[in-house]
Amino acid sequence: MSAELFVDPQLLRLTVAIAAPFLLAALGELLMERGGVLNVGIEGMMAVGAVVGFLGTWGSGGSYLVGIGAAMLAGGLLSLILGCYAISLRGQQITAGLGLLVFGLGLASLLYRAAVGVELAAPRIQVLPSVAIPGLARLPVLGEVLFSHDLLVYGAFLLVPLVHWLLFGTPLGLRLRACGDNPRAADTLGVNVVALRYGATAAGGLLIGLAGAYLPLAITGGYSDGMVGGRGWIALMLVILGRWLPWAVVGGALLFAYVEALQFRLALVTKAVPPQLLLALPYLLAIVVLVRVYRGAQAPAALAVPYDREARG
């Protein structure tokens, strides 16, 4: 095995593409958590996003817009269920999130069977076409790695500065962060905590639904149960690893995407290592990373704490 195996342009290109769903889901979760709502059901919401995105595209005869729109809508609706528990009912967010997780996993599989049936050979769609950015795509190496992707990849990476600007450059972002850190103070100053938390939760749900849709639309071209494969949990972890900062999430997303891409690559060149060991690499990496994740992590102070206007505080 030579060193080129680990840095060749194709591998890096795949890394950037695979990072997109991690990034979308983590940015969605980050928005929610900055507002004070913890969503542990990402995995289930992504599963629904994947199946709805696939069925929308397949059912409309290959219209990606229909699939993407439907998946985002589904993610948004599911996150509103969580919002109802977390914000209005002021219930246990982890428990409601786990309920939503199981609901999503079941619903995804149910929708697929209901729409496709069992006997048919698994239907497939064409994956999203690559759009080379004129000029930049012809740069040596970098052009291939960074500038010849499908539009969702560009979108995911452009969202990073956008979310950063929203959170740290606008009054709306300041208010949202206040809702996550000290909702009582925010409320005192006339910020509508309930509305902002619902807004952030819904926006996060849209992105998580999109992250789910990315998997069948851009990577596999088909849907299968369990295809999310822990990416939702890893996205949840990336938010903590990135210390709730959009820029810092990118590094973690690229790291996990690289390991996933590398595992495909290694499976092609080595026959000696059992494939299951390669498949386990991202999860092993996650456990190693977790040790660092919690060193000095400072979550939004009111994360997962419901806000009750009438409570004495």
Binding site: Y85, G91, V102, S109, R113, A114, Q276, A304
Partner: protein, 369 residues
Amino acid sequence: MATSVEPAPPPTPTPAVARHAVAREVGVYAAAILAALVLIAILLLLAGANPLVAYGTILRSSLGSLGGFGQTLNKATPLVLGALAVAFAMRGGFLNVGVDGQIYLGAICATGVAFALGTGAPALLAVPLVLLAGVAGGALAALPAALLRAVWGVNEIFVTVMLNFIFLLLADYLATGPWNDPLAGEAISRPIAAATQLPPLMPQAGTHPGILIALLVAVVLAWVLNRTRLGYSIRAVGDNPIAARVGGIAIGQIAVAALAVSGAVAGLAGAIEVSGYHQRLIVGISPGYGYMAILLAVLGKQRPLGVVVAGFAFAVLLVGSDSLQRSVRLPQSAVLVFQAIILLTILFAEAMRTGGTGRLLGVVRRRLA
């Protein structure tokens, strides 16, 4: 992120107050379950099935015949054990999402020991050894999460989730590779020797004695939680970790103990599935029991008795929806949706009762009156 889950409800005061509270709780549960049944009925209608026929099929197939009832008891075994595992750790404020992985490693260890024993040992010795191997495997599977939590404060939720994937892949490797049965096909190991198999409880119904083991474990765990020093410490950490630490309880040790016991119980479920039910290691040995176990632990209020009742109810649902699959062509995964709907409606009802919305309704009612 918040790490404590579901602080256990405070001890019940005087009998009269307690009776009133229990009656109200039962009322809330009944109303929530009714609402869940209505929601599921709507879902069934959307799927083109008659809900009454479907509910009848569920009950008849799971409870209406000896064979069906035997299957329900078999299904209840991993559900009850898994839920007991989650509930035990939850009492200490630890969330074990890794029951699936612990079932897998328990099943792997049980199968390994069964292969090692072969036909050499008498059943009286071999079966307990196989089950103990499962217990050890389950505890081992929970150990990384427990130690990381104790030493570095790493959230056990993530570690247990990641370990699920890893142990599933290990089972897949063994069942497709070294232990594969070429006659059985993909992802299934060779059968274990007859002497290492749990003898049937009701041979005509195909029932194994796993449910009795599960009930015994429920009694033992209730005793540990309520009558021993360890149980007291676990509950203290779950109720108020700071007070517990100030009171001289080593939280790290309690985390390791609670999660290891939790894993051991889940591992036992894996061993029973191998020794009593499949008689082999198969990759589908846990069709998501881990997630169901969390829902059950919440529904059963983390109390062993509540968990047993909830586990049995979910087993009825599982076996029933199996036959639903045949009669109204509803996919197996529908059962996950049903279970989640039941949990969410009950959470909704509880939040309505205790949370701000209940007060809000009170205000509205007063204004209207």
